[in-house]
Each structure stands twice: as C-alpha cells, then as structure tokens.
Subunit: 163 residues, 2 copies
Amino acid sequence: MASRSADSRTGNGSPPAVDAVSLAIIEQLQEDGRRPYAAIGKAVGLSEAAVRQRVQKLLDQGVMQIVAVTDPLTVGFRRQAMVGINVEGDLDPVAEALSAMAECEYVVMTAGSFDLMVEIVCEDDDHLLETINKRIRTLPGVRSTESFVYLKLKKQTYMWGTR
Amino acid sequence: MASRSADSRTGNGSPPAVDAVSLAIIEQLQEDGRRPYAAIGKAVGLSEAAVRQRVQKLLDQGVMQIVAVTDPLTVGFRRQAMVGINVEGDLDPVAEALSAMAECEYVVMTAGSFDLMVEIVCEDDDHLLETINKRIRTLPGVRSTESFVYLKLKKQTYMWGTR
DNA sequence: CCCCCAACTTCGGATTCAGTCGCATCCAGG
DNA sequence: CCTGGATGCGACTGAATCCGAAGTTGGGGG
C-alpha cells in the first residue's frame, strides 16, 4: 500500500510503464491515427474492445494524443527559427512566459551554453522580428538570445517508441 | 497557363494554398484527430462527405497527417538533446545521413552559428553518448558539434495554423 | 453557347463505435 | 491454502459512423 502512493505521481515514476502490447498499439496509431480498433486488434492480437479500452486509457493518462500535424509552410507560416536564450536567475518565470506565447511551438530547458531553447513559428520576417526582438528579448530575466533561422526542414517524425 | 506548370511542383509554390474551410477542418482535427466527419462538418458548415473528401485530399497532398504523438519519457526515452552542428562543404550529404538515423527526430538546416540543428531522442546516457560521439561526430564533413541536453520540456504543441 | 471540371450533396449498405455483461487472472491478506 | 477485490479481456447489441457511388450545381475556356 505504501507503493500505492507513488502511483498517483504524474509521470516519471516507475508505474506508468507502457507494456509491449500498448506500445504496439501506439505504433499502429503512429502510422495512421484513424486506423479502426478492429484492425489494430488484429495486428496486435487483441479484441476490438480491448484495444479501445487501452487507447482510451493511454489518452486519459496523457501517454499519447491523436492529432493532426501540418506542414507549417503550406498553412502560411513561412519563417521559423530556433532561439537559444540565456537567463539571469530563475528559469521558470521566463519559461512560463515563453510557453504562454502562441508563436512558441516548443520550449525546453537545457544544459549547455543556452539555458532555454525555443522554437518560433511565424508568418513572415516582420512577425519573426517582432516576436524575438520585442517580446522575447524584453522579458525580465532574459540576458541574451541567439537565433537560428530555419533554411530547410529535412526531417520531422513522430515515431518515438517505434524502434 | 504557364503558371499551371508550377502546380505539379511538390510543395513550395503558391498553388497549394489551403483555404479557410480546410484550415477550419485542420483545427478540428488538431483538437481531436479522431473526431467524426459529421461533427467536423457541422462545425465548419459542410456535409459529412465533403469533409471526408477534403481530409483525404489534405492527407494525399501531404498538407497534414493524423498521428499519435507520445510523451518520450513515458515510452522509455529518458535522454534528449538538441545538437548544433558545423559542417565543412556541402550540407546535404550530412543532413541526409542524419535523417537516416532513427535517433534523429528532427533535422533542420539553419542560418546562424550552426549549419544544422538536430534533435536526438535516446534511451539513456550511454545511448546518447554513443549516438553523438560515435555516429554524428564521425560523419564525413562534420567539423564540430555542440550539445544541449534537455533538462525539462516545458511546452510542446501541434497547433500550427490554429491562430 | 456548350462542354468540362471541380466541389458539393444525397443516399444506402457495410463497418465501426460505445456501452455493458460475465469470466478469467492476479495479488494481498486471513 | 483459500478468499475477496480489482483489473483486463472477450462477446454481444443498438446506435453512430464510415464509405463508395451517383446525381447536382456553378464557373471558366473553347
């Protein structure tokens, strides 16, 4: 029962370990997020209902989500950049502020010569400049930034766990 | 008609501009990749079949894909890093080699003090070291690398075009 | 003016989804 | 060893959804 208390923890404990069958289900849905439960069941050796229950649980637990992902260029976002940021003092408030910005697609705290790295998705050069210069660099605690404008996206997969 | 010939091009011409209705459909599927076509139709003002046809075309054209995305930590990948790379000569062969590696989730050519930036997803420290030290740094043309190990992922969305 | 193409709607049948039930298995405690 | 509770699975049923085909409309281009 003492071990039970650990179960309620959100993420990085041992309990939420996804078993091999659920991994196989995830792989199926990574190929096609709309694949019918029956087809998945046949592929992984489970009944349709069992697959449905597992998928529902995986979604509820936040282990995976099923979403549409788009090519930014074709939906009108022509400028992207990775921005490395150095911060003075506590990282959290800066990370929170960045996360609240719609243009920040990706915010991560890192070890190395940057404290934070942020991926920015913008419509055009003006939008990108405005975002970096007026909104990020003016955040309290931001000491310096370095931008890496995207020239060409060569690979982008969503296949974690498919190895 | 001369402009017509450009239509056959894969991606970055003007033609594949996604109209407002398709954008609305994409937004629906970004919220829930399995939402029924009828529900989407009601939301965007189209019949169920019309939505289905548009979704199929968007998928065929590669404008979007519907996939399951997972939290790397919960499926056994505990070490991630962004790696900035400087290259000697042509970037393409290096980018190709990186794209072929399963551990490289994300490969992009950039302007700035790195030529390439790559996101690496690994199971543990050994795997990460092996990947960076033995497989990336030994690629012909790679002049230098700089690694940014992830300490905490603060935000990760898939909402391009939902603004 | 007519033809053609693209996109939409309607429609019916096959499939799939969403609950619910009972059963087998597994563990903890008596 | 045996019992009680919880969990995960397969089977079943009605309702919703998916899917292909066919018919309709509207707008260029010849």
